[in-house]
């Protein structure tokens, strides 16, 4: 039964993409949405079927989903749904403006579906080698999406993304090989030696030198895809040049997919080496990412780059929280992963809306949206405040939990610096946001019609994020609790 569901989940977007490739107009939109709906129902069915402390398996254990995997899978489906919902309006405008060629429409939807398929594969596979294959595949497919409009800047961004992403993820392959080698004296050269569940069960017997080296390479390799400083240089380019719905997927879930892979290595390292080695590295690189992202956010002139640097900052915060460990910080991390994904995706969608309406992504051009674009502008302003962590946004609660959790775990210096950096980021986002909403508007391109669907898809996710700051429904709280248990499974 599960074999079938997983098969449908992966094959629906792949086949849908093959059908969509040569099509255009309403037909391709219909095909893409239909294929996605099939995959989404399979994905959500699978994710909700995962019991709290157990796992769902398929294909003789080749696919194995625990609560953390189910969470990543569910978020992927939700963010992809938002991005796909926004795509027809965005793509039609690009076609009308001549930024996309007519033939690119089918290619866009096909690549979009394939990108979603690779993202979905990441939390499914149990084998660390196949996990690597899936992450590398996300890079290759999304590199084509980043440069789809053929402008010089987009080509530059896509090229950097492809080369740096491939080299970075190459190091993650080394990490995988070293993890495999560290197990050979225990498991022999068996084919399931790369299975994460198997590695976890024998972690204390792994060769510690190889395991240490393995985690360092995993941090550099998957850290490149997560956007941790100093491996982040491709991120602002790719996330700002991609079509906005793709930016939403990139910033919302592809970073989380890579973080998921890094977490797997972290857990093996903690189980094999004790908690201090990998945790300290995560705290240091997390803090470094937050510190480096801040000045770029303050002095930023491009709306989508502002959002991209904010992703670097939030990934740093998450890495740091995972490094802190302990029940409070890990609960904060678990919820923050989801809130950031949804908020950032919504922000990229509203930024795309504004960029099309103003004909520019420059922050100096996008002003006075209160009058010119009340829906998208309001969503952007509100979203920026929530992203910064203004109460009652759920992100205030999660950031607070991570910082306080760090102090209780003895990382008071890192937690204090993080609190300071978060406060500065909030000010930076609030200043940019207020200029966007209230600033003096220059000449605006012809106002675009407000459509109800757009208002719904921009406002509803933000309302959810705000509500989650005040109240967490029971099933979600239970799920977060089991994710926290997985994140802190050992070494606490």
């Amino acid at each position: 039964m599960n074999d079938w569901v997983v098969g449908v989940l992966l094959l629906a977007p792949i086949i849908g993409g093959l059908i969509a490739w040569p099509l255009h107009g309403r037909l391709v939109e219909f095909v893409a949405i239909a294929a996605f709906c099939v995959a989404a129902s399979a994905g959500l069915g699978l994710a909700t079927a995962v019991p709290g402390a157990g796992r769902v398996t398929a294909f003789h254990g080749g696919v194995s989903i625990d609560a953390l995997g189910a969470y990543v899978l569910g978020l992927t489906v939700i963010v992809a749904a938002l991005a796909l919902w926004a795509s027809p309006r965005y793509i039609r405008h690009e076609l009308a403006a001549g930024d996309l060629r007519p033939g690119d429409e089918g290619h866009y939807y096909a690549l979009f579906l394939w990108f979603v398929a690779t993202l979905i594969a990441v939390p499914l596979v149990d084998n660390l080698g196949l996990l690597w294959v899936a992450i590398e595949a996300t890079t290759v497919v999304s590199a084509l999406l980043v440069g789809i409009n053929r402008s010089p800047d987009a080509i530059e961004a896509a090229w950097k993304y492809l080369i740096l992403g491939t080299i970075g993820v190459g190091f993650a392959l080394l990490a995988t090989l070293l993890a495999y080698a560290s197990s050979v004296h225990v498991l022999g050269e068996s084919s399931d030696a790369l299975n994460w569940t198997r590695l976890m069960s024998i972690a204390p017997h792994l060769n510690p030198n190889l395991l240490r080296l393995s985690f360092i390479f995993a941090l550099a390799g998957y850290g490149t895809k997560v956007g941790l400083v100093p491996f982040h240089t491709w991120l602002p380019d790719a996330h700002s040049q991609a079509p906005s719905p793709v930016s939403a997927l990139l910033s919302g879930v592809s970073l989380i997919a890579a973080l998921y892979a890094l977490i797997r290595f972290h857990l093996v390292a903690m189980a094999g080496l004790g908690s201090s080695f990998s945790s300290t590295l995560l705290v240091v690189f997390g803090l470094l990412s937050m510190a480096v992202a801040l000045p770029f956010m303050i002095r930023q002139e491009d709306l989508k780059r502002l959002l991209a640097y904010s992703s670097v900052e939030h990934m740093g915060l998450l890495a740091m929280g995972i490094g802190f460990g302990g029940p409070l910080a890990l609960l904060g991390v678990a919820l923050h992963i989801g809130l950031h994904a949804i908020t950032k995706a919504t922000l990229f969608l509203s930024a795309g809306e504004l960029a099309q309406q103003y004909g520019s992504r420059r922050l100096s051009a996008i002003r006075g949206t209160f009058r010119a674009a009340p829906v998208a502008g309001g969503a952007l302003g509100g979203g920026l405040l929530m992203l910064g962590g203004l109460p009652p946004s759920g992100m205030f609660v999660t950031e607070f939990a991570i910082v306080v959790g760090g102090i209780t775990r003895g990382y008071w210096w890192a937690a204090a610096l993080a609190a300071l950096l978060l406060a500065c980021c909030f000010v930076a986002l609030a200043v940019h946001g207020s200029r966007i909403v209230w600033g003096h508007a220059g000449p605006v391109e012809a106002a675009r019609g407000i459509d109800g669907a757009m208002a719904l898809r921009l406002a509803a996710p933000l309302l959810v994020v705000a509500a989650l700051g005040l109240w967490t429904p029971g099933p979600l709280a239970a799920a977060l609790d089991s994710i926290r248990a997985i994140l802190g499974a050992t070494g606490v």
Partner: protein, 224 residues
């Protein structure tokens, strides 16, 4: 005459040493076409070493892996890159950040340091019946040489050649550390590599139409 574990080990040692030497040559050449064929030669040597160990240990998945390596890295990828090269006006790496002579010296230094520093016994390089002490230091040297090439060249295709040297180094590491990964992982990794080459082809064509050259000097607009 049978092919024994000792023969396989000698073959693996010889092949990995030659692969490193070819890597040094790639670092020292200006001609992109020659670099592509040298990368292909590396892949052929790699697949020969894999086949040797497969014969000695009687493991079918290694023989199959050797065929996959030969056909993808040894034939399809170089042919595809050669095709891209023919479609572009660039044949030579004009003014790299590090000239051919300097990168030759740097590559030799890398090889020297890698062979001095990497002790394969400490990293479990003597796994299984076949013990080839030069394979692991060679693979580390090859990975670093690939990084050196990718970081110091300006032309898009030269950077991709560096990337392939890096990937050959990874494959050699995989093989010398663990005698290959599970076959399905190797297939997946090969598929990804082929896709990377396809995407490189797409973007080199776009770079040619938009910028009129393959020089990555054009790619420095995005800052801050």
């Amino acid at each position: 005459m049978t092919f024994t574990a000792v023969d396989a080990a000698r073959l693996l040692d010889a092949c990995s040493t030659s692969i490193v030497l070819i890597g040094v040559l790639i670092a020292g050449t200006r001609s992109i076409g020659r670099a592509i064929w040298l990368v292909a030669a590396q892949a052929i040597l790699l697949s020969a070493a894999v086949a040797g160990v497969g014969l000695a240990t009687g493991s079918n998945h290694l023989l199959l892996g050797s065929l996959v390596t030969l056909s993808s890295r040894g034939i399809v990828v170089p042919l595809a890159l050669g095709h891209i090269l023919r479609g572009s006006p660039v044949r030579q790496e004009r003014n790299p950040y590090l000239g051919p002579r300097l990168s030759l010296i740097a590559a030799i230094a890398i090889v020297f340091v890698a062979f001095m520093a990497v002790d394969s016994a400490a990293l479990g390089g003597s796994l299984g019946p076949v013990s080839a002490p030069r394979a692991l230091p060679a693979s580390v040297a090859e990975v670093l040489t690939g990084l050196l090439i990718a970081m110091t060249r300006r032309k898009g295709l030269s950077i991709v050649v560096g990337l392939l040297v890096f990937e050959n180094g990874l494959a050699l590491t995989a093989f010398s550390l663990t005698y290959g990964m599970p076959f399905v992982v190797e297939l997946g990794a090969t598929f990804d590599l082929l896709m990377v080459v396809v995407v490189v082809g797409v973007y080199t064509r776009r770079m040619l139409t938009v910028f009129g050259s393959l020089s990555t000097d054009q790619l420095r607009n995005l800052r801050g």
